[in-house]
Symmetry: D2
Subunit: 148 residues, 4 copies
């Protein structure tokens, strides 16, 4: 699904949209590392309050990152539609990442008129095996007059 | 599964464990409203940075609440085992709650030696229909020598 | 959601709809034990080819039962809309049922114009603890002119 | 995870294991098209009783295929451990495949001592976009003395 087409939103615009328009996760300092049409790679810097007992990154921080990564993948395909909302999300925690930056690679597997579905692989920066994997569905509002 | 047995952890102890031991969500001001053996009801007060474009509570805040609610249900059955960790979680967003306090009712459907599974119904305070529903699995460490 | 309203489809009609209209699972001999408005309890008799190595009921048989149970819960609320289709399903296998009849209790947690969501508790007949738990979403066609 | 290592089970052995050892799905005529270490591609021929109202392949048939595909991916990494069992599975139905053969490409994303996790992309033969996507967890028995 990713591929030849250009992304329908710019990296800077997506970054500022996440920072200013998305609550909670907007404060995580997420940056865009790569952007396709229907795919995105985000980076979440480490923050002290992400550490869980046992010395690993807490689940809700990874969930929040996965959620905005899928949001970014959707917007990279349909443009700036801020009211696209998550309808469901499944996340599996596979390995315990050490405290440090986290990367999320999202791709769309389906883009319909009303629903988009994709998955997100999450990595500790510099490591090869994923630390978690999420799948999720976004609902696209009917009158998706792109804002910008 | 909930029922006749007494909770294996106290409400105050669970509250302080969430507040001090759980990153991110620990700052949400979550309180325990009811506690059984294998079940718990939590309340999350409203915070301005929970609001998503469109005037509804953001998904990651509800995910974080569902996660600690299931954590509480597990601890209410096995006692204070801080290193119990989420291995997977599925959340479905059903209705858009208005800005306001959120309740989460978690119950265990299985408690094994190594894995616990349960679900969480999430409500806007004062409303009858759930706004989201989560299911999830917790991994219980082998040497679950309760701490306290 | 279940409750005061009468079921929008009869038990016999639902049974024959499952038997004749649903492939694969239609041959499992599923019967309706109870029917509400947005809830249903089904019974699946034991069949030799349901047994998995280790002497337990195979996952796909329970998935098929969960799927038609949720279908039944949807139709019990909106009437005979045969083209309602599953869009997603999550199933967790909690205990290994011995070979024998299986019951499924489905209830709707949301009924929208276009999507319905609910969960299904699955039991070995005569046992108290669930053997599996499923959640799922059905898509309701836009022109839901009930057929009958 | 797939890659340089040889598969820990042969294609013919896996095929006969599915045909003879797996209930229900064993009768679907599934064949192995490709086999790696931690990955597999299966093919399920078309059968008349797979067709759902609306002229598409029924969900439970795709679930059954996804389930054995993940089973095959697990065995391709750990060898013939017949008592590996599914503990959870999430499937999303993305497009309606026309009646015809179905392919399933499974890969492991984690292989631990006790749990394996992976995903499965499902295609209508000859089509490029996936018709469904599944993720799931297999439990590996402690004494995994490979049988053969």
């Amino acid at each position: 699904m990713a591929g030849e087409l250009a992304p329908a939103i710019g990296a800077e615009e997506l970054e500022s949209l996440i920072r200013e328009g998305v609550p909670l996760v907007g404060s995580y300092g997420v940056t865009v590392q790569a952007l396709g049409h229907g795919s995105v790679r985000l980076r979440m810097p480490y923050r002290d309050d992400f550490v869980r007992p046992g010395g690993t990154i807490t689940g809700p921080a990874m969930f929040g990152l996965a959620d905005v990564a899928l949001y970014g993948a959707v917007l990279s395909a349909i443009g700036r539609v801020e009211l696209a909302v998550t309808t469901s999300m499944t996340i599996n925690f596979l390995r315990k990442p050490k405290p440090g930056p986290i990367l999320a690679e999202a791709r769309l597997l389906k883009l319909g008129r009303r629903l988009a579905y994709g998955d997100v692989l999450i990595f500790a920066e510099g490591e090869e095996d994923p630390v978690s994997h999420a799948t999720g569905t976004y609902s696209i509002p009917p009158n998706r007059s792109a804002v910008s």
